[in-house]
Each structure stands twice: as C-alpha cells, then as structure tokens.
Amino acid sequence: MREKKKQQFHILLYLSFVVLLFWPATASAQSRPKNTEWPSYGADLAGTRYRPLDQINAANFGDLEIAWRIKTDNFGDRPEYKLEGTPLMVNGTLYATAGSRRAVIALGPATGELLWIHGEHEGKRGGAAPRQLSGRGLAYWSDGKEERILYVTPGFRLICLDAKTGVRIPSFGDKGEVDLKLNDDQDIFPDLITGEIGIQSAPVVAKDTVIIGAAFREGMTPRSMRNNKGYVRGFDVRTGKRLWIFHTIPKKGEFGYDTWEKGSAEYTGNTGVWTQITVDEQLGLVYLPVESPTSDFYGGHRPGNNLFGETLVCVDLKTGERKWHFQLVHHPLWDMDISSAPILADITVDGKPVKAVAQPTKQGFLYVFDRVTGKPIWPIPEKSVEVGSVPGEWYSHTQPIPTKPLAYSRNGVSIDDLIDFTPALRDRAKEIASHYHLGPVFTPPTVSKLEGPLGTLTMGTASGGTNWPGGSYDPELHNVYVYACNSCIEPVGLVPAPKEVSDMNYVAGTAGKEVVVLHGPGENAGADSPKPPKKRQGSGYIALNIDGLPMVKPPYGTITAINLDKGEFVWQIAHGETPDVVRNYEPLKDISIPRTGQETYNIGTLVTKTLVIAGEGNVTTTADHPRGAMLRAYDKMTGKEVGAVYMPAPQTGSPMTYMVNGKQYIVVAVSGGPYSGEYIAYTLPSTGE
C-alpha cells in the first residue's frame, strides 16, 4: 500500500531578531559551561541525570516559585494526560516534545516563551502507531556551527530539524526525514501504514551517529507469535544514511541464532530497545538495554534462551558490532524488559579504578559490570529457579542472580510481604493471596484455573521496581539513586488462546474471562458490528487491594542510594506522602503509620551538587497542601528530606535542571487523572534588589 502523502505543517513563531539574541555571534559549543546545560535526555550520554548545580539547595528548596509553565493541550488535536518528556536546554534554548501530536517546541528557558513549533501530520500511520502521544524527548547535535534537533514521530519517522528555526534540514535523508519502517533488514508487515513498530524514547546522538531502537504494542496478549523485530540502527547525523544495524534477534549464521530452537528466531518479533540508550563516546561503545521477545508471559513458541532478549548488549559505536553481552533473564517469561538507561560510572572497587555500567531493572536488581569487558563487578551466579508446568513452555532451570548489591525493591510476593497494620487486614490479604501461586523472583506464570491458582502473584515484572525513568548517578559520591515501586503487584496467569484471537497456545489472561485482542482503529467497532460473544461463567474480579489499600506492607515506593564502590546501600527512604486512602482509612485512625511512599512506577530522579530531587506519582490532599503532588528534595548524603514544593498534578516526566542568566531552574512534566500535560519551571524568588 502506498503511503498517503504526508502533510507537513510548520508554524514559525519565532522572531528572527529574538533568535539572533539567543545565538550571540556563534557562541561555540566548546566555550559554554556545559555543566549548566542539559544537552541530552539523561543530562549526558552516560545517563546520569546529574548536574553539579547548587543555587537551589537544602536551605531554599521550599522557597521555589513557578517561573513559567506551558500546557501542552494545543500541541495536538486533543489534550494528552501522560506527558513523559524531559526537555533539553542547550545554548540558551529549551527544547521538548509535547502534546498528542508529539510536536517539538522551542522555548525561552527563562520565560517559557514559545520560539517555534514543529509537528508532523501522519494521518492513518500516526493513528495506528503502537507508541503514541508525546514521547520522552529528543536529541540535540551540533558541530560547533550548525545545530540540529532530532526526534522520532509516532509513525516511526526520524525527523531532523534546524534547532534555530524548527525547519526540516533538507539535506538529511529525504527532505529532512528518514522512514524508519524502511531499510530495517526486514519487511515491516502488514504494510508501512499499519505495520506495528514505533518508539517513544528520545534518540541518542553520539559522535555524529544517531541511534534508534524500536518499540511495539503491549506484549501480553499478542495476536500472533510472529511479529516485527526491534533491531537497533545507527544513522549519520549529517545525511541520515544508515551506518549500521544490530539484530537483537540474530539472523541465521549470526551469534546467538541457536538460542532460538526450532527456527523460532525466524518468526519471533519484538525484542526491541524501547528505552534510553547509553553511550561512552571515549570508548566508542554503545549500551543497549533489550526488551522481551514475543510474548511477554508465554515462551512456548520460542524454545531456548532467546538471545538478545532481556540482555544488556554492548556494541561498537562505529559499526554496531557486538563487543559483549550479558543476558539478565534466560528465556524471558516475566516481562522483565530492560526498561531504563544503563548508567555509566567510573568507580573504585578494592582500590582499583573501574569503568562500570550499572543497570537498574524492574526486578529490583542493579546489575553492575565492567563496561569494557562485560565482566560482573560482583559475582552474578546462576541459581536454580522454579520450573513451571505450563503445557508447551520451555524453561530455563537457572537464572543469574546478583550477589551485590542486594535487590533494592521487592521482586516476589510471599505471605511475609502482606499488609499487617491489623490482623483483620492481614487475613483479608491472605485470602486474596490464597487464589494465587506465590514465590520469589523468577517464579514462573501458571495456567489460570477457576479453582486456583488464578495465576502467579508477581512483583517486579510488568510494572514493579524501576521502569523507564531509570536512575541517577552522582559522579562525586559514586552513588546511584534509583526510585522503585515496592508494591506494584502483577497477577500473571495464562489461558489457552482461542484460534480466532491468537495463533499462540497461551496468552495472558484469567480463567473465566473472555480473551480479546485489540482490533485496528474502527475495526468491528461501529454500531452494526457483531455484538461481543456472551461471556463464560467468570470467577469474579479479585481486587488486589483491600478497600484500596495495597495488599503488601509499606514502603510502597522507595528511593535507594547505592554506593557503587562497595555495592552497598547508603540509604533507602519511602518516597511520597502516605496515600489518602491509607491516611483516611477508618480502621487505622488510631494507628500511627510512618510515611509509606506511593504505589507508582514511573518516577525519575534528578541529582545535583547536594540534592536528590523527585516528584510524587500520586495525588494527595493533606492538611499542608490542597489536592496535588509534591516535588521533593532529599539530602543526597543522608536521604533526609530538606524541602518540598507543590505541583498541581503528579510528576510524569523526569525533572531536569539548568542555569540561565545566573539563575537555576528545575523543569518537570506533570499530568495524570483529570490534569492534562504541563511543563512547569521552578526557580528561586527574586531577591528584590
């Protein structure tokens, strides 16, 4: 099918003389104090989310005021309620993706003034995209003269813009774009418009190479064992020409092909890199955190260990050739996608300097390797794990489990983990748990049965631990700071897939519940479409909470500081106000409960000279503040809270910071519930002089 000619719209709002003011006589990239800017998604290519700024500090954090704010409602044909971006601030301009169009906006960093906006109307191709909305951000590149902004549209096209004007760079690819559905060593099926592949993370540019991964729909209930594959590619930032490709599922003859038995590498898909990619420019090495293969919870159609599924892969920046790899999970069955940026850290272990890479994960392990050799810094031995009994499934009998650092969040569910505020609450939690199979990390899914188990009760799989926001790293103290959901429970059951639903033997589901897959937009959805079939006798829904209270003990969400020289925790705190539902729960009114933190899995941290800063993921209403969420600051040495400032909605994109005109700013994306996306910039009050 031929793609409908895309309409490109372009609105230039900037005033050229203003722009000239922002680019004083080609301020060369080298002469600017880079520590005061935020030039890539994770602050730097090492994924640290660190800036050594200290104008905003423990003494004044609580004084922060809103410098400017920008709602993203009009950057698309409808508002979006899940604004996940982290802006960049380079050379006097702030850049961000925004709105349901995934528009690119350029703002004055001190005022929030809109300088230009760029958006791509992709029609059906955008509407059919597996990863929609504004995405996580964009990439900036400069050779000291020219400046470029790169981002990927929902419809999977890499767009290159002039950073000064927002106009496409005509010499890049085809008039400023590269169609990422082409030239991918596979034919994206069924066609270029609806073919399932996309990405929501920010591109990475390192030494003139743009690196792009791939993402797909949720992989719990796929229609087929066959899907497009998520290869990773490098492109020339000047021309858009493809420089290299890394096959995350090896092709025949390539290393790792034999870890897909019965030829399953041929048809299995997914296995992309949907989260942030990290680069060591000096070593010329790229670190790829690879996700799960098709499907998330059933691997019976892909016997074998399945390289490079859920594997940290190091490739050469120039060629894309594999240097080393470490598979975190053999034969993935838990949706333990490597979900966040690997963090590069130069540390000292037993008196020796080590160039390390640390990988936070959903399963709450921080895996630490020598980033040159791939050798674990502390032993990660293969340990026996439970072998399940799902018909047709292939099981790895061992999994690598780090000895150090210890897991920083729960990654299994046991009776000991259940709520214990009162005996009555505990009994109710036990009753809920009795319908499920319980166990430690790597307890496999079960077939869902009405008489039980309905599935395996897991934590640190699809939603727990650390998800896409990842962690931060402080190069001064050699500490990783990482948020984790410590209460995000995921029931994982499997049900036979009806033939008309999927060609898989099993898909995620619950006994007694009809299995459905998503249809294409509008497909079978009109007024005269066939009515859905009558539902079979169901088991009723078992809420995995008790009157809204999490069924496990607090803390519900934590921030942990982990020292990488020693592999040990420095501190761990509950992050976030105790939820209203707990604070206002009648049976607990006479019980004093310390701050519990919150059940949410998308909180990113920022680390500065003295502080660790993160917003809350839930809304609360307390005596201290109206309905809203708090942006909190902690002493990075001790974890003690030193200040908090009100936000009208939860943090949904990780905070960043920069200095401009002698003032430090913190920008954070908030949204959720009824509150549509907004970037808010905080700064200190003027002194009155």
């Binding site: 409808r78 508002p79 309620y81 899940k82 509407g127 990863r131 929609q132 929501q200 949720e218 719990m220 209930t221 949706d335 979900s339 699809a462 939603s463 998800n467 029931p491 059951g493 995620a508 589901g509 619950t510 519940k513 009809e514 459905v516 897959v517 998503l518 249809h519 294409g520 937009p521 509008g522 959805a525 859905p532 079939p533 539902k535 829904y541 078992i542 809420a543 995995l544 909470n545 009157d547 809204g548 209270l549 999490p550 519900y556 939820p579 209203d580 539902v581 206002n584 729960y585 009648e586 919150q598 059940e599 949410t600 993921g617 839930n618 809304v619 209403t621 959720g672 519930g673 009824p674």
Partner: protein
C-alpha cells in the same frame, strides 16, 4: 438523603427530575448570591452522593465488561492493573488520582482520550457501562439506578477512595 429515584422511573423521568432539581438549585443560588455575594458556594449538600452510594447497577457493570475487554484490556490489562504504557484502573494510584474529584471528571477524561487509537468512538452509554464495570472491579457498591451518561449529572457524584465510616 441519597434517595435514589424510585425504580419505576424511566431514564427520561430521572433526567427530567434531576434537571428540575438542578434548575431549582440554580435559582436558589442566584437569589442567594445576589443578596449575599460573599457566601460560600452553596454545596449541593442535600443531593450529594459519592461512589459509595450505589451509583451503578450490576447489570450495567455486566454490560460494561465485554466492552472493557474489547476496547481497554489490551493496554490497561486483563485485571485492570495497567501496563507499560497505560495506568492501572484499580488500586492505590488509580484511587489516589481521582480521589476528591467527580465521576464527571473521570467520564470526561475517558470521552476525550479513549480509546487511544480513536478517542470518542464509543457512545456515551458504552463509556458509562465501562465506568460501571470499573466501579464494580474496584468494589464500590452497586445500586438500583444506572450510572448516568451525562457529564453534568456525573459531576454530582463524588469519587472518594476511602470508604466512609458510616457505610460499612
């Protein structure tokens, strides 16, 4: 308080009845506001209902379930626990994000943005049925009247995460 309209009422009668009540409330407000302009907004105290007052029927929730499974489950999950790119529709984070708001806010959010591939494609009735199903999964009690499909009426129903002490 919280007397549901008698079961014999048809939907139209209920709507009409409520409209009349709203109109009366409005007139009262105008009178009060014009005489004592500093008075706090007259909360519709006498009519105030929350999700704990049985604001949907079991039948409606049953109708909503297959629609949920077809239109929502792929992203929000089989058990409403959410997914990588979609928030949970049950449990702590969900309750926290809507606590203190109204069913109208939640309903409008669904109308405006869901299903993601084609927002607003479903009818108001379908969305109301899905919402009824969500309430049932979240263990809010069912009642004798169906959940409204009019945003302005849904705005009169408060979403409260904590079970009120009096209604155990």
């Amino acid at each position: 308080m919280n007397t549901p309209p008698p079961e014999c009422c048809t939907r139209r009668e209920v709507d009409h009845d409520l409209k009349m009540r709203n109109r009366t409330a409005f007139l009262v407000l105008v009178v009060v506001a014009s005489s004592v302009c500093v008075l706090r907004a007259q909360a519709p105290a006498a009519e105030s209902r929350s999700v704990w007052d049985g604001v949907y029927t079991e039948e409606q929730a049953k109708r909503g379930e297959p629609i949920y499974r077809k239109e929502c489950a792929l992203c929000h999950g089989d058990m409403l626990t959410g997914g990588e790119s979609a928030p949970p529709l049950t449990g702590g984070a969900f309750l926290a994000n809507w606590n203190g708001l109204t069913m109208g806010d939640l309903f409008d959010r669904i109308r405006k943005t869901m299903p993601q591939t084609n927002p607003g494609r479903l009818t108001r009735q379908q969305d109301a049925d899905i919402l009824a199903f969500m309430l049932s999964v979240n263990k809010f009690p069912s009642g004798k009247t169906e959940l409204y499909r009019q945003s302005e009426m849904l705005r009169e129903i408060r979403f409260e995460s904590a079970k009120p002490a009096a209604k155990k």
